[in-house]
């Protein structure tokens, strides 16, 4: 458990969290490994976990019908994956597929939500980090929507 705690504490997303918060998070955490091609998340399925990527490369994809499966973002070591565990109805909005062998720390969403409700300091600390992550993704998505390299430029 100590090892898990240090891995979580050293992850960029979690930096600055106090010992108490880290101890609480460890109670919801487990080490998980995904082989290339495995899915960490499927669109429409319950978002039961929040992933801290330790190693590997995960593609976030959307099934665009006739256009096929479109990759819209990738995450890798140093990143985190998923905020659907925090927002009702707690379901994934995309697929997440391991492009290569990927090792993660999976934090159980229900467990995290309960602890956030019990201790709002923990909830606020996590919410601040998730909000920053959302802002970064929103900015990146807006840039993608601009189609910067399109022929109109």
């Amino acid at each position: 458990m100590e090892n898990l705690k240090s891995v979580i504490g050293e992850h960029p997303f979690m930096q600055g969290l106090d010992e108490h918060t880290l101890d609480t998070l460890v109670g919801c955490a487990s080490n998980v490994r995904y082989n290339a091609g495995d899915y960490l998340a499927r669109m429409g399925q319950p978002a039961e976990h929040f992933f801290i990527i330790r190693h590997g490369h995960v593609s976030l994809e959307i099934n665009a019908g006739p256009r096929g499966i479109i990759g819209v973002h990738t995450v890798e070591a140093g990143d985190v994956l998923g905020w659907s565990w925090l927002i009702e109805p707690y379901k994934w909005h995309f697929d997440a597929r391991a492009v290569e062998l990927t090792r993660v720390i999976a934090l159980n969403g229900e467990c995290l939500r309960k602890k956030c409700e019990q201790d709002h300091d923990i909830g606020y600390a996590l919410m601040k980090r998730v909000a920053q992550l959302m802002e970064q993704r929103l900015t990146a998505t807006r840039m993608q929507l601009l189609d910067m390299y399109g022929t109109h430029v």
Partner: protein, 280 residues
């Protein structure tokens, strides 16, 4: 320097080779037809020429070749307008008019002794390629060298063979991303400014060279600044409607600057206040 008496007079160049880089982007290798005893075309990394398609028009295009190989003048062009679409139809043996080289250069000498971060988006890799060649030819003079490159899709990646070579070197870090891709793509997906957080940057000893769409450069500058880099160590290449190429006609005026003469490469500190004025 190639002999040039009148900067407004195009010189005829023969197309020696055409390489189709992507569906809409191609590279010309040109040789000078009237050499006057000097067949080389000397230029500085980052400079551009005015290329004239006879009967259609003239456009500014950055030089994308190796400054150490001046025998061939190399331009990489994306077919997006009437002149570039006409150029795309040209073949080996056809003639183009060339005026130049014009403008300022990437700070490859100033960067000696420092780490170098090169950030390119889309066709923006073409104006940076001469700087990459130059830096790699004098690799021992630089610290860490990083190339971050973003393209629209995997099919739009320029100079793929060279990117593979550069990525295979032990003395250069190359990260590539695309805005979106089909499921078969195994590389990064996301915008190029997001790659900045993935590389080590020593802000006091790094020179950054950035070229791509203005919105991309804006976010790259923010990303580099957030990593501690000062604006006078971040260089960007600006693009406007260059016509004369020598700062006379005013078409490319950018506040008090002329992109063709004072740019296209600027330290960001010099144009920072202009960058936020929408009308410019």
């Amino acid at each position: 320097m190639a002999a040039q008496t009148d900067p407004m007079l195009p010189r005829p160049f023969r197309i020696e080779k055409v390489t189709h880089e992507t569906a809409d982007t191609f590279t010309f290798e040109l040789s000078q037809q009237q050499t006057n005893g000097n067949s080389g075309f000397d230029f500085a990394c980052g400079q551009f020429n005015m290329l004239y398609t006879f009967g259609t028009g003239e456009i500014p295009v950055s030089i994308s070749g190796d400054p150490a190989r001046p025998q061939r003048l190399v331009h990489t062009i994306r077919a997006v307008g009437s002149v570039t679409r006409a150029m795309k139809k040209l073949k080996k043996g056809d003639t183009l008019g060339v005026r130049g080289p014009f403008g300022s250069a990437w700070p490859v000498q100033q960067a000696e002794g420092n780490d170098v971060v090169i950030i390119a988006g889309g066709i923006g890799l073409a104006p940076l390629r001469p700087a990459i060649y130059s830096i790699l030819q004098n690799r021992e003079k630089y610290g860490n060298v990083v190339l971050l490159y973003g393209a629209r899709t995997p099919q739009d990646i320029l100079f793929e063979k060279e990117l593979r070579e550069w990525r295979g070197r032990f003395d250069m870090q190359v990260l590539i991303t695309v805005d979106h891709a089909l499921g078969t793509w195994k590389g990064n997906i996301g915008v190029v400014p997001d790659l900045i957080k993935r590389v080590k940057i020593d802000p006091d000893n790094t020179i950054a060279m950035v070229c791509g769409p203005e919105i991309m450069m804006r976010f790259c500058v923010i990303g580099l600044h957030n990593r501690g880099m000062e604006h006078d160590t971040i260089f960007v290449s600006m693009e406007r409607n260059m016509k004369c190429g020598i700062g006379l006609c005013g078409h490319c005026q950018y506040g008090p600057e002329f992109i063709c003469k004072d740019g296209p490469v600027f330290p960001f500190s010099k144009i920072r206040t202009l960058f936020d004025i929408y009308e410019l």
